[in-house]
């Protein structure tokens, strides 16, 4: 049986481990050179790889995952630096690109562990050099030993806001402000549910407490106004505080992020149906607790199948691999499957509380000024999308997201709507006066990321 696993982050590693333990040798593809996913991405060899320094509280978990990753590579058809840009569920084929060379990988069953990226809300000035996602700020520090600037502000909501600010401050960066768009009251309401998270919740409290103890400026319930800049850099960040007063800080870099969104393009191209998850406020591919989908032979695990975080991804990867094996007629350890199911269910309850404590600020996206850049790739502004919601728009009113894309080019650029899609949906829905889940989602189209045009072999040209 030919099994393929796409992705070598926490979900992919545990999935492969489970498959290898059952005697399989899956094809294992990852876009990065060394696996680990984004959360446990290792620095290049020339840098210090001390786990305690890089991963803090997560050092043991990271080390264990890396050890398994490295142990599994020779026991699989390991294909690093390999990007899957299309999937054909009918003939069960992955179309891949490895250092400029096209290849296909055929499978009988595939497990997609494609991870996530930051979910952002545009802010006037957000395309200035010096503004990055929260994840980017963390990657710069973790894998390159660099801060995104010298005086750094962080703006957003959710666990990553506090973690990255803490990591920066610990590394000696000048963290000039940590601005949470969620109010203290919203977080306090969710606190009871968060207690289920145990250690995870405690770590979050620790970071916030540490930042406060070190006198770092923290403001909660803020409304971003603008990132200011001159030439090719950031000069400051303006916001209104919870009482509506104008605030400002001088800075040369800003990290922004409001949680994560699944990188689910392959699931989409595989024809797996999506649903709007109101708690996460994301469109997610439909799957059962074990990672089975309605498309035979196609399984999902990790953040690409709905945001759960790294610990959940490890559980889900192992569980989806068991589901795959079971569906293939293998005898699997039922007790282990049941244990994973219980752990996943419990983690799901904590996730709900976490999402409630840091909800996606849809109102911020919907309320953006018309002249704010929305689609970075195409240089389109918020007003250009909003205009397409009006009856008098030259091509008629765009009643849903893909039509708005067709009319305005929003989400049509190099990133294919990854970055602006979530905010664009809020803007369009608000302009149409309908709930965001009523306007659909940007359809995935191959290639999942850009592929280069190459010269054909000489004999192939007529």
């Amino acid at each position: 049986m030919r099994i393929a696993v796409v992705g070598a982050g926490p979900a992919g590693v545990r999935a492969v481990q489970t498959l290898v333990a059952a005697g399989h040798r899956p094809a294992w593809l990852d876009e990065a050179p060394d696996g680990g996913g984004r959360i446990y991405q290792r620095p290049p060899a020339a840098l210090n790889r001390d786990a305690k320094m890089l991963y803090g509280f997560e050092a043991k978990r990271a080390t264990a995952l890396h050890d398994t990753l490295d142990a599994m590579k020779p026991r699989t058809d390991w294909r690093p630096d390999t990007f899957v840009w299309h999937i054909r569920p009918g003939v069960k084929r992955l179309q891949t690109l490895h250092r400029g060379v096209q290849a296909v990988v055929d499978y009988d069953a595939v497990l997609l562990c494609t991870g996530a990226m930051d979910r952002v809300v545009p802010v006037p000035g957000w395309t200035l050099p010096g503004v990055t996602t929260m994840g980017a700020a963390q990657i710069a520090l973790k894998t390159q030993g660099c801060g995104i600037g010298s005086r750094v502000a962080f703006l957003g909501s959710g666990p990553l806001l506090w973690l990255v600010a803490y990591q920066y401050a610990r590394a000696g960066a000048d963290v000039v402000a940590v601005l949470d768009t969620t109010s203290f009251a919203t977080k306090a309401r969710a606190a009871f549910g968060l207690l289920r998270g145990g250690a995870t919740f405690a770590k979050g409290l620790y970071y916030i407490g540490w930042l406060r103890a070190h006198g770092i400026r923290i403001d909660e319930g803020v409304t971003p106004v603008a990132i200011e800049g001159a030439g090719s850099g950031v000069t400051g960040l303006d916001w209104r505080d919870a009482r509506g007063r104008a605030q400002r800080v001088d800075c040369d870099a800003v990290g922004i992020g409001w949680g994560l969104r699944p990188e689910a393009q392959l699931a989409d191209l595989a024809g797996i149906p999506f649903r709007f998850d109101a708690i996460q406020h994301n469109w997610v591919p439909e799957r059962d607790l074990a990672g089975r989908t309605s498309v035979e032979g196609h399984y999902l695990a990790g953040d690409g199948a709905g945001i759960g975080g790294a610990e959940v991804a490890e559980l889900a990867g192992a569980r989806a691999a068991l589901a795959l094996l079971q569906d293939a007629g293998a005898a699997v350890d039922a007790a282990e499957a049941a244990r994973l199911d219980r752990a996943l269910t419990a983690a799901g309850r904590f996730r709900v509380a976490l999402e409630r404590a840091s909800p996606y600020p849809a109102h911020l996206a919907a309320g953006l000024p018309d002249d704010t850049i929305l689609c970075r790739c195409e240089g389109l502004r918020v007003g250009e999308l909003r205009a397409a919601a009006a009856e008098e728009y030259p091509a008629g009113r765009a009643p849903e997201m893909n039509r708005a894309k067709a009319f305005t080019r929003t989400g049509m650029g190099r990133c294919q709507g990854r970055v602006c899609g979530a905010a664009a949906a809020e803007i369009l829905a608000a302009a149409l006066g309908v709930p965001v889940d009523a306007i659909g989602r940007l359809r995935g189209q191959p290639p999942v990321k850009p592929i280069p045009i190459v010269a054909p072999p000489a004999e192939a040209v007529p």
Binding site: W85, H86, R88, G90, Q95, Q102, Y393, P394, A395, G396, P399, E400, R403, A406, F407, M412, G413, R414, Q416, Q445, P446, P447, P450, I451, P452, I453, V454, A455, P456, A460, V461, P462
Partner: protein, 373 residues
């Protein structure tokens, strides 16, 4: 409850929406029924070529008529739908292809289509970015391109303003005629009736015709398309080749749209789908590089296809039904209906309301396969 009107149109592509507009402008009560959103299939996701050069001679009179409407597009729909007269340069890659270009010059002349050869001596001087495999070209200065995503919906908007009713997400599942009126039933049970029915349903036009006893040999067609990231503008004309296995154009924003070959589709189920095929995309990119070598290294950011209807002789069915008075067909545009759409809507309106049109339609009659048999 049955909604009655003067003219029912099935299919909201460029041709159907244009027919709705022209009919409404002449005071007809029109209802257009579209299974999805207008312009969702062949009309909305095609390459965007607005080309007369190289067409089957039978199509040229319609293309000429449509060209006149394209030139008036801002007046017609209130925007230019990004229509731009860039010229269309059709390229030859060997002697035989060059001979074919030369042979077509006479056809063009007969129909008043401006066309000139760009010979071996001037092709690389005039277009220095063309690769060495190109030996000659013929240039049609009146041709160009437009944004297919805007045409049908722009026509539909002004058709509505003119009084037409455009019903989207209305899939017709029942076709009948009670001896006086056509009676159409939508999937949700809604009924529509009219003395005149225009079948402009693209690939699905075959099923409409079959419902009235005149089945035709139509097949789904899914042209494979891709677009690159924006790069500095340098390809002014819309480019094609003899044989048509690759075509490309660049828009002023910088993106290069490349087509060639066919994707896959499934029209058997309730939810038809079409997808580009990766190997076809890669092959057409290779063919494109042979025309324009500097495309190497440019990134492709998206690929797509849609569903059109293809007839065996690669020209559409246009004209009155052979079995049912009041029924008129215009479907099966075989991958080149985008330019024709606006004109076809005008022609169908004349055909229905005036009983005749100046454009010769005999080559497109639905009975042609029966005649041949």
């Amino acid at each position: 409850m049955t909604t009655s009107c003067d003219v029912l149109i099935v299919g909201g592509g460029g041709a159907g929406c244009s027919a709705a507009l022209h009919m409404a402008q002449r005071g007809q009560r029109v209802i257009l029924l579209e299974r999805g959103l207008v312009g969702s299939q062949a009309s909305g996701v095609n390459y965007g070529g607005v080309r007369q050069q190289g067409r089957n001679p039978a199509e040229l009179p319609i293309a000429r008529r449509s060209h006149a409407l394209w030139m008036r597009m801002p007046e017609l729909v209130g925007s230019d739908v990004e229509f731009s007269v860039t010229g269309h340069l059709k390229l030859a890659r060997n002697d035989a292809e060059e001979a074919e270009l030369i042979a077509y010059l006479d056809t063009a002349r007969e129909h008043g289509l401006a066309l000139r050869m760009v010979g071996r001596n001037s092709i690389h001087r005039d277009y220095p970015w063309l690769g060495p495999k190109v030996v000659a070209g013929s240039f049609a200065p009146e041709d160009g391109s437009a944004n297919p995503r805007l045409l049908s919906s722009s026509l539909a908007r002004v058709a509505r303003l003119a009084g037409a009713e455009i019903r989207e997400h209305t899939k017709v599942t029942g076709f009948a005629h009670d001896g006086r009126l056509f009676r159409l039933t939508a999937e949700d049970g809604t009924e529509f009736s009219a003395p005149v029915l225009l079948n402009m349903a693209g690939y699905w036009g075959g099923a409409v015709a079959a419902a009235f006893g005149e089945a035709v040999p139509i097949k789904p067609l899914s042209p494979n398309m891709a677009v690159t990231e924006p790069v500095p503008f340098f390809i002014e004309p819309n480019l094609g080749v003899v044989g048509g296995n690759v075509y490309l154009r660049q828009i002023p924003r910088g993106n290069i749209i490349i087509g060639g070959g066919h994707g896959e589709s499934d029209v058997s189920g309730g939810r038809a789908w079409a997808r580009p095929l990766p190997e076809v995309t890669l092959e057409m990119l290779g063919l494109a590089v042979a025309l324009v070598p500097s495309l190497v290294g440019v990134q492709v950011i998206r690929s797509w296809t849609g569903i059109d209807g293809q007839m065996p002789d690669r020209i559409p069915v246009i004209g009155p039904s052979g079995t049912m008075p009041g029924l008129f067909h215009a479907f099966g545009f075989s991958g080149h209906g985008f330019q024709l759409g606006p004109g076809v809507g005008a022609i169908m309106t004349e055909l229905v309301l005036d009983g005749h049109t100046d454009v010769p339609l005999a080559p497109f009659r639905i009975g042609r396969w029966r005649d041949a048999a």
